[in-house]
Structures are given as structure tokens and as C-alpha cells.
């Protein structure tokens, strides 16, 4: 299965990309997606447990992801 990982701000700079297509095994959770990103070059700057949104809704680390999901890794927000 394939999910789209979105990266923003400092996280996008660290990984050198703001959008990555990841191929993962089935039975995958948010935590697995984060672990995959952290294993990539520059990925060590991501915290082990960042804030994540799946399909634009904040999600827990153990939430299941399915093929086609958009998994966004959210740096500390600073709106306002």
C-alpha cells in the first residue's frame, strides 16, 4: 500500500521534501509512518512522537492508515 506523507516548515527542510509517497506493508499505523520517515536521511530531526493528522484530522499514533491516506507530520504550530 502507498500513503502520502506531508512535511511542513522545519520538518520539510530537514527531509528536503514537503511530500513523499511511501510504500508500506499492510497493518500500518501512524507510528509506522513516522518511524519510516525518521529512518530516512534528515529524518532524525523529527521527534519520535510528532503531532500527526491523517486526511486533515489530528490522529493518535496507533491509528490505522490505509492505502491512499494523506499523513501529515505537523511541526509545533505557530498561527495567530
Amino acid at each position: 500500500m502507498t500513503v502520502t506523507a506531508l512535511l511542513f516548515a522545519s520538518y520539510a527542510e530537514a527531509l528536503g521534501s514537503d511530500r513523499l509517497e511511501l510504500t508500506l506493508a499492510g497493518n500500518t499505523t501512524v507510528r509506522d509512518v513516522v518511524d519510516r520517515l525518521r529512518a530516512m536521511p534528515g529524518g532524525s530531526s523529527l521527534p519520535a512522537a510528532p503531532l500527526v493528522a491523517v486526511n486533515q484530522t489530528y490522529a493518535n499514533a496507533d491509528q490505522r492508515v490505509v492505502s491512499g491516506d494523506e499523513v501529515a507530520i505537523i511541526p509545533p504550530v505557530a498561527g495567530g
Binding site: 506531508l6 511542513f8 516548515a9 522545519s10 521527534p47 512522537a49 510528532p50 503531532l51 500527526v52 493528522a53 486533515q56 489530528y58 490522529a59 493518535n60 499514533a61 501529515a72 505537523i74 511541526p75 509545533p76 504550530v77 505557530a78 498561527g79 495567530g80
Partner: protein, 151 residues
């Protein structure tokens, strides 16, 4: 009742927002404006570049406004957040709330800005007069806490 929110890439027209929430049914209007501030953590700021997870930011801002309207019974609520390169003094966010009573108008306004700070997926890169720039992590601690709560 009217509720409108927007993530925009142009200057925010505060007078227009005021007209939008104005009618004769409400006794109190509270407007909150966030500005680009010259000093932050002792460094002299030259400008701020705001970026966002755009679609989600639009959804979250709309959700915040709906929650606010339901909770406080506001009559009118308009909130706009600006993205892009802002200069000193530019308005980054404007929240206008009209309510028959002032206590609720204040509380509703405060609710919106606090939720925006807590959960709107927007980031800012502050530029300084010395030519450097940095991502602003004002909500860093709250962020770590939220992330941990979700483990």
C-alpha cells in the same frame, strides 16, 4: 447567525470585517487583531513568512468557529488568517465577534484565538534585521504535550 472563516493571501480588511458582523441585534462587538511585532525574544524582527497546511488550516479554522458559535451562541463571527510574507505591523489574524452581551463576546473572541494558537496548522519563519531567520516555535511545549497525550 452568520459564521465565516478564511485563510487568505492578501491584506486583511478590518473595516470590512466590522461591517460584516454589524447589525442592530447585538449590543457588543469584540475584535481581536494579531500583528507582526518588532521584537520577539529579544531579537529585532524584520518580517514574518506565514505558511500552512492550507486545506487543513481552512477546515480547522471553520471547525473552531463552529464550536465557538455553538458554545457561546454568538450572533456573528468572522475570522481571517493571512499567509505569505508579512511586514512589521501587518495584521496576521483578525477575529470579529458580535453578541447581544459583552461577556460572551469577549469569551468567544478569546476562545477562537486560543484554539487557533493551539491547533491551526500554520507556521511562521521570522526574519531578523541581522539577515538571519528562524522557525518560530511559540507553542512548542503545548505541542509536545499534545503529541504525548496522543501516544
Amino acid at each position: 447567525m452568520s459564521v465565516r472563516t478564511a485563510i487568505v493571501r492578501r491584506a486583511i480588511d478590518v473595516s470590512a470585517l466590522l461591517s460584516e458582523v454589524g447589525d442592530t441585534a447585538n449590543g457588543a462587538t469584540v475584535i481581536f487583531l494579531g500583528h507582526v511585532r518588532e521584537m520577539n525574544d529579544g531579537r529585532t524582527v524584520s518580517g514574518i513568512e506565514y505558511s500552512a497546511y492550507g486545506e487543513m488550516a481552512e477546515r480547522e479554522l471553520a471547525a473552531i468557529a463552529s464550536e465557538c458559535a455553538a458554545h457561546f451562541g454568538v450572533a456573528h463571527l468572522v475570522a481571517e488568517h493571512r499567509l505569505g510574507a508579512l511586514e512589521l505591523g501587518d495584521v496576521s489574524i483578525a477575529i470579529a465577534v458580535a453578541h447581544p452581551h459583552r461577556a460572551e463576546a469577549y469569551e468567544a473572541s478569546r476562545f477562537v484565538i486560543e484554539e487557533v494558537k493551539r491547533r491551526l496548522p500554520i507556521w511562521k519563519r521570522e526574519g531578523y534585521v541581522d539577515g538571519t531567520s528562524d522557525w518560530v516555535n511559540a507553542a512548542g511545549i503545548a505541542h509536545e504535550q499534545r503529541a504525548e497525550e496522543r501516544q
